[in-house]
């Protein structure tokens, strides 16, 4: 492989030196977008509530193939939806159900910490949230109507570039992290907690991996 690189680089160097312009060498950097799917069946959840969802980029072949050459890992967009919800009275949420509106649902990222020091493990149970890691705010939805979020794909957050660039530096070396979802009370809720026997919610986080090949 190295011999090939040398040969091609020799040819390329002619090009690079020929003009003060972008060269073919520019094409040695590619940016892949990886959709990281979060979501699970959550039993006996409440409002308000906070959930921690773990992800390790080693589960993704794109990351595994290029982990040594990644120059940037940028969290780009985030999409949230609810696929299934059973209400407090045990009745599944449906078209005729009364709507529930969360005041806000906020998303944060906190890097993980391996319990045993084996960071090649992709098993969530091997990690805990790193207490030394800040909780980076990715964004939030306000006035989240369950009816609007029920099996709809159009709730998308653009992660601020400033936050993404800060996360990027750490993410390159610590590709294991938690997405923290904070649910507020629902509108009209007077109780401290309202229980929901079953929730299936999903969110996809798009990560852009810049790879210097």
């Amino acid at each position: 492989m190295k011999s090939l690189i040398i040969i091609l680089s020799a040819v390329l160097s002619l090009t690079v030196n020929s003009c003060v312009v972008d060269t073919v060498d520019s094409l040695s950097e590619f940016t892949f977008q990886i959709p990281i799917n979060f979501g699970a069946d959550y039993l006996d959840r409440t409002s308000p509530d906070t959930s921690f969802d773990f992800s390790h980029l080693l589960k993704y072949e794109t990351y595994r193939e290029n982990r040594e050459q990644i120059s940037e890992a940028i969290i780009y967009q985030l999409n949230y939806r609810i696929d299934s919800l059973v209400l407090e009275d045990g009745v599944p949420f449906g078209p005729n159900s009364p709507d529930l509106v969360f005041d806000r649902i906020a998303y944060k990222l906190q890097f993980g910490k391996s319990k045993l020091g084996n960071t090649n493990s992709t098993e969530p149970n091997d990690y805990i949230p790193d207490p030394d890691s800040p909780k980076y705010e990715l964004g939030e939805f306000v006035n989240v109507s369950i009816r609007d979020f029920y099996r709809r794909s159009d709730h998308i957050l653009q992660v601020p570039e400033s936050t993404a660039s800060v996360i990027s530096e750490t993410l390159k070396n610590k590709p294991y992290f938690y997405i923290i979802t904070e649910y507020s009370k629902v509108k009209g809720q007077i109780e401290d907690e309202v229980h929901y026997p079953f929730i299936n919610s999903k969110f996809d986080v798009i990560i852009r991996l810049k790879v210097k090949l």
């Binding site: 690079v16 977008q33 993704y60 794909s153």
Partner: protein, 790 residues
Amino acid sequence: MKNIKTILKSSIIIVFCVIYQVRSQDNIEITPDFQIFTSKNASGFFKPMFTTLEQSLNSGLFHSAMITEGWSFGFDINFMNMYIPESQKWYEAELPDEFGNTRVAQTSEMRNDIITRNKRDYVKEPTIYGGISTPVFSAPQNMYPPDSLYKTVTFMEGNSLNSLAGLPSLQIIFGLPTRTQLRFRFLPLPVQDATLTYFAFGINQRLDKFFHLFGKYNTDKALAVHGSYHSMTRGSGFEINSISAGVNFTNSFEFGLNLYSGLQFETMSGSINAIRVGEMGDELINSPYPEIRNRDPLVIDVASFTNFRATIGATYKLSFLELNANASYASQPMLGVGVTFWLNNPDDIAPLKVPEIELPELNQPSLITVFKPMQIKIPFRMLNMPIEMHFELKADVSAYGKIKIDAENYSQETPLEKIKIEEFLSRQMKPILPYLFFDDNSSEVAQRYILFNSPEDANNFDYTDLLGISSLESYYHFLNIIGKRLREFPNEGIKITGYRAGKGKEVGNKTLTKERADRIRDYFRDIWLVDESRINVVYGTTPKTASNEKTELGVEENRRVEIDASWNILAPIILNDTIRTITPDMLTFKTQIINEAPLKDWSFDVSGGVDKLISEKGGRNLTTAFDLLITDKINSLKNYNDLRYSLTISDSTEQIVKSETKRIPIELLTVEKKRQNETKDTIINIYNLILFDFDKHTLDPVNKRITDIIKSEITDNATVNVIGYTDVIGDDDYNLRLSTRRAESTAHALNAKNIKYLGLGESDLLFSNESPEGRFYCRTVVVEVKIPVN
């Protein structure tokens, strides 16, 4: 296999951006990170890059059509830079089939902070030269379980490139004696234990010399056709071919500079078939594309956006180096530079051009020696072995004279010894056309007529103001001539009749005729202070002797005011003047050169004193004869002692030769000198006089009176020439006959002893026929009476 990396991702060879080969016998394999591509999306994503490759391959196929007739050998390298148009930064990426079916999956994207729902079929995504891509999110609907396959789709991002250096081309060039240039490129690139092979063959065939497209002796223009074939292969599943064909043209300048241009068709085709290997991560296992989930082979169609290219460029030869720079317009506009190293490339020596010169009979021995055309061919000129050669270069120019024999023809040229200007006393008679013409539907006097602004100005008018000007120019004073005569003859009166055209806007416009006539009356009254009682104003319709209104010219002539008066008022102007004649009428300068090397440029000058009468310059083609009409330059030539002329030429070897500066003496023979020398002299009376009505040749009473005057002045020894003219209206032959009859009628009336008459018709118009008065003054006869004295 696991440790094999797509090193060619970073390569100029496009295909290796995404693929690699384990062994040469194996199928091409695609690494998992690039497996987010479907075949169709990969084709769209990489197509601009295939275009760059295709344009790179088909560059440097020609730099000059000036291909020499001999063996040559060299090699060159070319660099180029492509500019990526915005249109090639995006492509329509296909979406999974289920997307857009809202019963199956509900989809959305967020682009520029705007969320769009229900995306289906295709979505705009960046090509490899574009920017950030936009993911499409999907939510499975009720009939499908939450974790069904319909998930988020992402696309490869582009590299945000606006320009890009192309693949340098290194090639060997063979030139054949058939003016054929063959170009070869061969590039084996070892990739693991297999080889990527790039091979190209090009041909550039000069044509103009076979067909003498630019002349037999042309050395500065060349036309060639060119074509090429390119092949790039590596094992199974990888094959790219490209062809091109076109035509190119070169114009050669001095100092080794060539400018060239070309048009070519070019295309690329092929395909890359790759299999999907390796472990599949979640992003691939969950892909909504069946092709990706099922690991179907990836088939990339290789194509280019470019089909036609126009190129302009320049080459500059510097010893064994030939530098070139060019610009091309194609789907990706590009600039290129390159250098050719010639190990052997003979200059093309054209057969010497020695113009065939018919030498005139010269009185003096000519400087010119005529050489037979010869050819010098230098088949081979090795580097650093300059051949000393001397190329003969001579220049000469001679002057000849011609005499005008009729309206269009001159006599045979004869060697010229001098120019002779002779003065004669002359009586000139100029007739007055008593018509004043107006513009369409206007009563304003046109600016070409000379009107005074005050009686004081009118007092300064004198008939001598009419000396040295033509009859037509004198006519523009005719209101002032009549005004002056009305003062000289206080008992005379005039009749002013206003007319209008019988066609167009003026039809029935009585006010117009009144205003026209009143306008002229007012001028005599206010400027020439003529009592109104002496002016009879009449308002007519169309003139009694109207011009034929079938044509616009006839209509134009009827928009007029006529003045009727006695002979005292309307008699022709008679002036005593001095006229000058010049011999010959025209000079012809003939150039004669000998140039063994191609001519580079020339200049030819004829001057009189500080005035340049001819100052011509040119390039490779020398004008063989220069004509100079001098009959209209008598007044300036009489001030010079001589005319001087010379020819300067230079050839491609930078020799400059100036011919001998020759002089033509000018002899001025004045009346006074002739009397002092008791030389025989002649009085030349010119009666430019008789105006005929349209299509008439008979003499009216006024013209008979004029001919009586002329007749009384013709002596026995006088010679009389009568020349008839017409205007342009009517058939050429008819006008020739009409002018002849006019001359004949006048000659009969004059009944002189030595008289000749000639009709010139409209072949020699005395005045411009654009104005009605110009046409009237062309319907005339000029009588020239030469009376010998002493």
